[in-house]
């Protein structure tokens, strides 16, 4: 195969640099590329600008001191509404923030993917989103209506990290979850996109129905990483649900002395194979019940 984009997680993360703007796909505690996030935790990367519909990805990167600036509409673990390490970082004033409406955030990614400097929207007007982000300007319609809009600036990403159900070595991907969220826009907004996958094929050969599950083109994908259970502890439909037991353990660690370091030592430091073993292996993860909303 001439095009083989397979990398190890460590090799993928080694292509990133401190100070980069990094988009992370998924939504809250759903379909997060956690194996890649854990690899960042094991790396020397720092001063990252993280762009995310935030879940434990944001919390862990904040806890590890990797985040200089956070661009986000929310950070939550859903069933545990308040993300403990995001709160610590935010309340300690240790991170810069650009807090955006969910739709403005989407618009920023879309603008970047379209190579536009901004896209207009009404959203953000009359709120403190503009007051707290004076770099975001308004623009007046050049047409007769003369309406004033927010000129939502492009959220250009140096790299994006995404997790998928299946992909091949060429970078063709399949997402089988009920909702694909905005991963395709992260892929388009990014200079380089790294995809971790539950199943890695040499070459996908699909029927038409299955091909519809392909969310974005392979030319957007710079590297693919085989990472079974790589979204754990987040919800990854239809393969496995979120791991509430583990998320509770993670949440509790934030209340303990030296809790984050203990979490890192116990779960992250030993590498991904050891992590998965500690989670009961693919067998247990595969049986985690899908959440009911």
């Amino acid at each position: 195969m001439a095009l083989n984009k397979e990398l190890t997680a460590a090799a993928a993360i080694a292509q990133l640099r401190s100070g980069m703007t990094l988009g992370i796909g998924g939504w809250g505690p759903r379909r997060k590329p956690m194996a890649l996030v854990r690899e960042i935790l094991r790396s020397d990367l720092k001063d990252l600008t993280v762009v995310s519909y935030g879940g434990p990805d944001v919390g862990m990167l904040c806890a590890a001191g990797k985040v200089k600036k956070l661009i986000f509409p929310f950070v939550t673990l859903d069933a545990i509404p308040l993300e403990p390490y995001y709160r610590k970082a935010r309340e300690g004033g240790s991170i810069e923030v650009m807090e955006l409406d969910e739709g403005m955030f989407e618009w920023g990614l879309r603008a970047a993917g379209m190579r536009m400097s901004f896209l207009p929207t009404r959203i953000g007007l009359a709120t403190d989103v503009l007051a707290k982000n004076p770099q975001i300007k308004t623009i007046t319609s050049p047409y007769d209506d003369g309406e004033v809009y927010v000129a939502m600036p492009a959220l250009k990403l140096d790299a994006a990290l995404l997790h998928v159900n299946e992909c091949d070595r060429l970078g063709n991907t399949l997402v089988r979850g009920a909702d694909t969220f905005f991963d395709h826009l992260f892929a388009r907004a990014a200079g380089r996109c790294y995809v971790s996958t539950e199943v890695l094929h040499d070459k996908l050969a699909l029927d038409a129905e299955t091909a519809k599950l392909n969310p974005y083109e392979r030319y957007l994908v710079a590297g693919v990483v085989h990472a079974p259970c790589g979204a754990h502890p987040t919800y990854f439909g239809p393969n496995y649900g979120w791991d509430m037991e583990h998320l509770k353990r993670y949440n509790t660690s934030a209340t303990e002395d030296n809790g984050w370091q203990k979490y890192l030592d116990e779960f992250v430091a030993g590498g991904e194979a050891e992590y998965l073993t500690k989670m009961g292996g693919a067998e247990r993860v595969g049986k985690l019940k899908l959440p009911v909303f």
Partner: protein, 265 residues
């Protein structure tokens, strides 16, 4: 009287919430968290079958999905509504959401972001989420399970996430036409925005609650709506439907000690 004592305040609030969606037409009804969702579900199953609802994940359903573990229940899908599509629905204005913000001010501005100094907040909450977009695009109602001056603040909310009727926030050329705040359902009363310049009024008081009690629990002056009365108690039919929609009684865990509909004197 026995029936009154058996009815819970949560059930009263579900029925009050359902009224928000009456005569809205064919819009997506999004009740976020248990009581608003049961309110929207009750509306669809009684007075407003035209409402659209989702399974709270990604699919439109023709029948509201019961809350909590579903057992053998299979959602009755009628379409698709991913988050991407929800945003498009929001921007087109075809939605009425009811959410519970951390703070609300006299202009109906809401905060779900941070309490205290923004640079170093006393409490970081969720983030502005979809509030700026929802509030400027479609109908919204609010839900408050703990009516008090920490929610209904004296000045502006600490971080204006959802827009309201504060003229100082609206510059020339900004289109305010789609801002449409309807009801605030609290554990003490139902409020609306029917006063002069959309001032907040008490529309009805829950049984056993006085206007003075509501005013004392609110950080800004309230008006009394013409004909301010008592919030209507659920009917037996409504209670039966609520029971089917919430077979595990999740509604009983929302308000502290699950009080009865009539406040004890």
């Amino acid at each position: 009287m026995t029936q009154t004592t058996e009815i819970t305040l949560a059930e009263l609030m579900i029925v009050a919430a359902s009224e928000a969606w009456r005569d809205n037409g064919e819009v997506l009804a999004s009740g976020i968290t248990t009581i608003p969702r049961l309110g929207a579900s009750l509306a669809k199953l009684t007075h407003s079958p035209e409402l659209l609802m989702t399974d709270s994940e990604a699919f439109l359903v023709s029948e509201p999905v019961p809350v909590g573990p579903r057992g053998d229940y299979k959602p009755k899908y009628e379409g698709y509504m991913s988050f991407d599509r929800v945003f498009e629905c929001v921007w087109g204005g075809k939605r009425h959401a009811m959410i519970g913000p951390t703070q609300i001010d006299r202009w109906g501005q809401t905060n779900l972001s941070a309490v205290g100094d923004y640079a170093k907040p006393k409490s970081a909450v969720l983030g502005v989420r979809g509030l700026p977009g929802n509030s400027i695009n479609h109908i919204n109602s609010l839900f408050v399970p703990n009516h008090g001056p920490r929610v209904f603040v004296a000045g502006e909310v600490d971080m204006v996430s959802g827009v309201g009727y504060n003229p100082k926030r609206w510059g020339e050329g900004m289109k305010q036409d789609f801002l449409d705040l309807r009801l605030i359902v609290t554990d003490l009363c139902v409020l609306d925005f029917g006063g002069p310049q959309h001032a907040i009024r008490v529309k009805s008081l829950h049984p056993g609650v006085s206007f003075e009690q509501v005013q004392a629990a609110t950080g800004f002056p309230l008006l009394q709506a013409e004909g301010m009365g008592e919030t209507t108690l659920p009917t037996a039919e409504q209670l039966a439907i609520i029971g089917r929609l919430d077979p595990h009684n999740l509604r009983g865990a929302i308000l502290k000690n699950n009080p009865p509909a009539r406040k004890a004197a």
